[in-house]
Amino acid sequence: MPEIVAFNTIAAGIEPEVEKVQARATQVGPRGRKPRRALSGRNIMIYGTLIVVALYYLLPLYVMVMTSLKGMPEIRLGNIFAPPLEITFEPWVKAWSSACTGLNCDGLSRGFWNSVRITVPSTIVSIAIASVNGYALANWRFKGADLFFTILIVGAFIPYQVMIYPIVIVLRELGVYGSLTGLIIVHTIFGMPILTLLFRNYFAGLPEELFKAARVDGAGFWTIYFRIMLPMSMPIFVVAMILQVTGIWNDFLFGVVFTRPEYYPMTVQLNNIVNSVQGVKEYNVNMAATILTGAVPLIVYFVSGRLFVRGIAAGAVKG
C-alpha cells in the first residue's frame, strides 16, 4: 500500500523545525524493542523455580519406573534414583499375573478387570442419570426441584463415612450388598452432586431460545434432550466421563466397603499386594503394580489434557 504510507507521512504534518529537533533525537535515543537479556535475573528465578518444582513432581514417577525395571539384588545394592544396570520386565509380569494379595496369587489382572467392570457401567449409569437430572433442573424446573438440588450439593460436603453404613443397610435390603450392582449404585450416588451441577450449569448456559423454539415446534422432554441437548453437549459429556473414569478407577474406600473380595477393584488389590505382611517384600514388583494401577487415569489425563483441567476446575470451583 505505497500510496497510503506516503499519504501517512504527509498527513502527520510535521513542522520543519520540530522535525529537525526530533531528527537529532532519533539518532541518539533508544529505538525499537527494549533490549532484554534472555538470562535476566527475573527469568532465571522464574524458570529455575519452575524447573526445580517440575523435577520434584516428576521424581516419584521416575523412581517408580526405574525401580520396576530392576531386579531385587540391584535394588538392595544400588540407590533408588539410579537407572537400572540391567533392565528386566519380570516384575511387571509378576505384578500382573502372579503377585500375592494374601488371599490369592493371581496378580493385579483380576483387580484390573474388576475395575473395568466397575468403572464402565458406573460411568455410563452415573452420567446418564446426572445429565438428565441436570437437564430437568436447567430447563424444566418444577416446584421443590431447587430444594432437592440444594440438599444434593450440601450433601457433597458430608464425609462419606457418615453415610456409608445407612447405604450398607439399603443395599442389603435391596439384596445387592457386596455385588457389582451395589457398587455401581454407590458410585452413581456419590457422583451425582458434582455431575448434576456440571450438567445443570452447562445446559443452563445454552441459549434458552433454542429450548423455547423446540417447545414451540412441539418437542417434549425426551425429544429435546436426545435431539437437541445431547448433540450440543458432547464436550461436557467428555468432561464428565474423564471425571468419572478417573474418580471411580481411583476409588478405594467404596471398593473395600461395598464389595466382596472377589470383586475388589484394582486399588484395593494393589494395596493388599504391597502392604501384605506375608513373604519377602519385592519392591520392584510393588512399583510395577503401582504403575499399572496408576496407568489408566494417567493415560486419561495425558490424552485429555485441557479437558481434564476443565473437569476438575468445574468440579472443584463449583463443588
Binding site: 500510496e3 504510507v5 499519504f7 501517512n8 498527513a11 523545525e17 529537533v21 535515543g29 525499537g32
Partner: protein
C-alpha cells in the same frame, strides 16, 4: 507553532508474524485533544498501549515532551491512563484508589492530600471518597478512574475507550464532562474510541485508523466533509455516504460521473487536479447533501422513487431508488413522503466526494 507533546516515529509492532502497526508516524501538539478512531482490531488501542509503555514496540521511537521514552516504564513517562473497564482497585476506597500510586511513589502526605482533594473537586466526587468502587455507579466509577489519572499530575492523558461500558445517556453526559475537563486543564489528551460521535464532538484532530495504518489525520470537519479516501468516507457518518460507482466523462467543458445509466454533473466539485475522461471513480454524496423536490442552482436534477421512510423526529430519512440503486436522503422532519412517491433530487456536488475506484483516494 506549538510544541509537540507526543511524537510517534516509525512505530512498528508485530506479534510473531502478525503486524499490528507498521511504520506509523504521528505528532500530537501540546494541549491537543487527539482521537484515535477505528473499528475493533484496527490497532488504535495497541497504539495507545505503546504510547503508555504497556506494550513493547518492535521498532521505532516514542517521544513525550521531547524526551525519548521508548524504553521507559509507564510510570516514568509522565502519563495518566483511563481504562474502559475502569480498573479500579476493588477493595480500596475511592480515596485510596486515588492516592495508592502516589503513596507507593513516596510522595509527601500533604502533597497527596492536596492532589486528591483537587481531583475530587474537579470531578465532583468529594462525597464518594470513602466509598468502595462496588458502591458506585458506572459513571461515578469512570470519574474516579479519571481522577486516578488526574492526581498523577502529568502532561498527557490517555483514554482507552473510557465510555464504552456506559449506557447511552451517561455516555453523552460524560462526553461533555471530558470536553469540559480538557478545556479547563488544557492537557494533551489521546482518546481511543470506535464511536464516531465521540470522535467528532471531542477531538481537535481525529486519526482514523484501519489495519494499523492512519487513513486520515485532520480536524473533525475536514474528516467529515472531505474524507481522504473511500474507507474514511464510508466509516464516518450515519447513515453512510451514498456511493455511486461509475466512469468520468468530460463533455462540452463539463464533467459527469456516468453511473447506473445516469449522468451526474460534477462540474461543481472542487477537484484537486484535472479530471481524466474514462477514469473509473466512486461518487460519494452524504444524505444531507441531496435536495428533494427543491432545485439547487446550477445542479441537474434526477428522478427517484421513495422506497421507505424513516421519521426520526428532527429529521426524516428517505430511502430512495435512483436508477435501481438504493440511496438515503436526510430531509427536515416535518416533510413526509409516502412510499412509491416520485421525487426530484438535486445533488450538492460542491459538498460531494469523488474517489478513484482503484486507489480509493480522493480526487
Amino acid at each position: 507553532m506549538e510544541n509537540v507533546s507526543v511524537s510517534v516515529k516509525d512505530l512498528s509492532l508485530s506479534f510473531g508474524a502478525v503486524t499490528v502497526l507498521d511504520t506509523l508516524n504521528l505528532d500530537i501538539k501540546d494541549g491537543e485533544f487527539l482521537v484515535l478512531l477505528g473499528s475493533s482490531g484496527c490497532g488504535k488501542s495497541t497504539l495507545l498501549n505503546c504510547i503508555a509503555g504497556l506494550l513493547d514496540v518492535s521498532d521505532g521511537q516514542i517521544f513525550i515532551k521531547n524526551k525519548n521514552v521508548t524504553w521507559e516504564e509507564p510510570k516514568d513517562r509522565g502519563i495518566g491512563m483511563v481504562f474502559q473497564s475502569y480498573a479500579l482497585y476493588p477493595q480500596m476506597s475511592v480515596e485510596k484508589n486515588l492516592s495508592f500510586g502516589l503513596k507507593v511513589a513516596k510522595v509527601e502526605k500533604a502533597e497527596i492530600d492536596k492532589r486528591v482533594s483537587r481531583a475530587a473537586e474537579i470531578l465532583q466526587i468529594q462525597p464518594l471518597l470513602k466509598r468502595k468502587p462496588a458502591e458506585l455507579s458506572g459513571g461515578q466509577r469512570q470519574r474516579v478512574a479519571i481522577g486516578r489519572a488526574l492526581v498523577r499530575d502529568v502532561d498527557v492523558f490517555l483514554f482507552d475507550e473510557p465510555l464504552s461500558n456506559l449506557d447511552a445517556k451517561l455516555r453523552s453526559e460524560l462526553r461533555v464532562e471530558i470536553k469540559r475537563l480538557h478545556q479547563s486543564l488544557k492537557n494533551t489528551m489521546i482518546y481511543v474510541t470506535h464511536d464516531q460521535i465521540e470522535a467528532l464532538t471531542l477531538a481537535d484532530r481525529i486519526a482514523v485508523m484501519k489495519s494499523g495504518v492512519i487513513q486520515q489525520l485532520a480536524d473533525p470537519m475536514t474528516i467529515y466533509n472531505a474524507p481522504e479516501n473511500l474507507f474514511v468516507a464510508g466509516f464516518i457518518g450515519s447513515p453512510s455516504m451514498n456511493f455511486f460507482r461509475g466512469e468520468l466523462q468530460l463533455k462540452d467543458g463539463r464533467a459527469f460521473v456516468h453511473a447506473n445509466g445516469v449522468d451526474f454533473d460534477v462540474s461543481a466539485y472542487p477537484s484537486r487536479g484535472p479530471f481524466k475522461s474514462g477514469q473509473k471513480v466512486v461518487l460519494g454524496v452524504r444524505p444531507e447533501h441531496v435536495r428533494v423536490d427543491e432545485a439547487l442552482s446550477g445542479q441537474a436534477s434526477h428522478q427517484a422513487v421513495v422506497d421507505i421512510e424513516e421519521p426520526m423526529g428532527a429529521d426524516n430519512l428517505l430511502w430512495l431508488k435512483l436508477a435501481g440503486q438504493s440511496m438515503s436522503v436526510r430531509i427536515a422532519g416535518q416533510r413526509r413522503y409516502k412510499p412509491g412517491t416520485e421525487v426530484t433530487l438535486s445533488f450538492d456536488m460542491a459538498a460531494a466526494s469523488i474517489f478513484d475506484a482503484v486507489s480509493e483516494n480522493r480526487l
